[in-house]
Symmetry: C2
Subunit: 307 residues, 2 copies
């Protein structure tokens, strides 16, 4: 097929963020962003919000959206596609959104889910980043790591998502830091991935030389008994949780295979460092670019230009 | 030595609770309790609080206290004794508390700590319960499990604490329940230890068929995809965390050895059930009684009645 060179609008609409681009074919002509994520909107506010951000742009070009906007709590549900699922099916599975005032087509991409009773899991948004990585093509195979509050590890074979696992690592770190007894012993700032305590945490978690639930209390005990400082404690805790994740997430990946690490969250640097500490090589990708590239790839599948 | 049959006062003074008994030798004649724990008191309020609760009791009999009252944040610090430590040394290591108005002796028992760089750990209060179990005698050996916000597993050999580990299990359950994304999917009431999902959680954690950080997110996914109800989710999460703890805590205990389970916290029923699910037998002890028995044992060491 030929590539579609029409005008259209790409939207990445998540839980807390909103980004929108005016597109011409695969080129972004203009971009806007705002903090009007899902959590700050009632259902009837989605359409006016989109309309507001389309202001001054061509009035008829269609819109393709991705992210939590398509969840049950979003504007209109685009039901999950179930594994195994080709990334091309994600693109083609876009759902038409019912609009009231907007005089244009609005589509939203579905999420992907594993409905197996033994390993239920969901993603919504990450599938678009994978499309942007080229993972929609029937030649693409690899392992993708998408850090975030809920980090995803996704196995793609020949353009098909075969399996994925979500790790609550980021959220757990955050609630331990804010709400547990450890909060008194942890530095308030960013994690220093170069601190020796980070490396120690990663290796403790990676070989599980101490069980996680015990490691956590030892952060407290280290303060009380060994005067370990809050910067070291924070680095250790972060490394300990990442090491725990990597022990499991990397166990079925060949040592020689590069991991496709999707960057952009503040966690990326920590994942890159932790992966290097356990002897893994990565290809690093910009998460921001991937979303737009993914929406573009989906667009080409949805609106193929026929001669 | 002969047993001391004098009048004295036993006090268990923790982070949130306060219990006091008027004792004659090893007999409790009267008991009182209040919620004036460490967290609700300034340093200068400890003595007036104790005085208030001694009201109407013999004015000269000495007081022996145990618990967080002896921590750095308490009334007066009784520094930790370091491993390996005999439980008799805990009794003898009682520190004299400086008083202003009280015209009697006041002692507080020290906590126990492991200062090894590779496994720092602390306890304060649990050592008294172990004394109450008889673990102070040179003939006593065994493995003791003390459930709580921070569960302790303690190995005692011939009256000596040789090693112990603290697990953050209870606190982690509580903060996940209150502060994580899982809170929407969890029943607000008590955990049902007889629910099949509890057993499933225990076995998943015990054999680690799914890594913990993934299991946590699957609680959420189960709600979304499999309509798993909040009662089952809560039971699974509780079982999953306990299974994780037991996998590590029981690995070096002979299958034939009974575990000494100290009861009293609301968690005891869950630990008893989980231990039975993984094929372990327990002797169950009342935690409340053990504190008083432990203070009594310490008292006999401190004030031996000589003929």
């Amino acid at each position: 097929m030929m590539e579609n060179q029409q005008d259209w609008v790409a939207v990445d609409w998540g839980t807390t963020h909103f980004r929108i681009w005016r597109m011409h074919g695969d080129k972004a002509l203009e971009g806007r962003e705002a903090s009007c994520g899902l959590l700050s909107l009632k259902r009837e506010e989605f359409e006016p919000t989109l309309k507001e951000h389309l202001h001054g742009w061509p009035t008829e070009s269609p819109v393709l959206m991705s992210g939590m906007v398509g969840s049950r709590q979003g504007w209109q549900e685009a039901p999950y596609l179930f594994l195994p699922v080709s990334l091309k099916d994600v693109a083609i599975g876009a759902v038409d959104v019912q609009t009231k005032d907007l005089q244009r087509k609005v589509h939203v991409l579905p999420g992907v889910a594993c409905q197996e009773e033994s390993r239920p899991d969901v993603m919504r948004g990450e599938e678009t980043q994978m499309l942007g990585l080229g993972a929609g093509s029937a030649e693409w195979s690899g392992m993708i790591c998408l850090p975030g509050t809920h980090c995803k590890w996704v196995k793609v074979a020949l353009g098909q998502v075969q399996q994925f696992d979500t790790y609550l690592t980021g959220e757990l770190f955050s609630i331990l830091r804010q709400h547990s007894i450890l909060r008194h012993d942890l530095e308030a700032g960013d994690v220093d991935a170069e601190h020796p305590a980070f490396a120690k945490g990663v290796s403790t978690g990676f070989v599980e030389s101490t069980p996680l639930l015990t490691s956590l209390f030892r952060v407290r005990a280290s303060s009380l008994l060994l005067d370990r400082d809050p910067v070291a404690n924070l680095a250790f805790l972060s490394g300990r949780l990442l090491g725990e994740e990597l022990r499991s997430a990397t166990q079925n990946i060949e040592k020689t295979e590069k991991i496709q690490l999707v960057g952009g969250s503040s966690l990326t640097k920590l994942y890159a460092r932790a992966l290097s500490l356990v002897g893994r090589e990565v290809d690093l990708h910009s998460g921001d670019d991937l979303v737009r590239h993914g929406l573009t790839a989906a667009w080409q599948f949805l609106y193929p230009q026929t001669e």
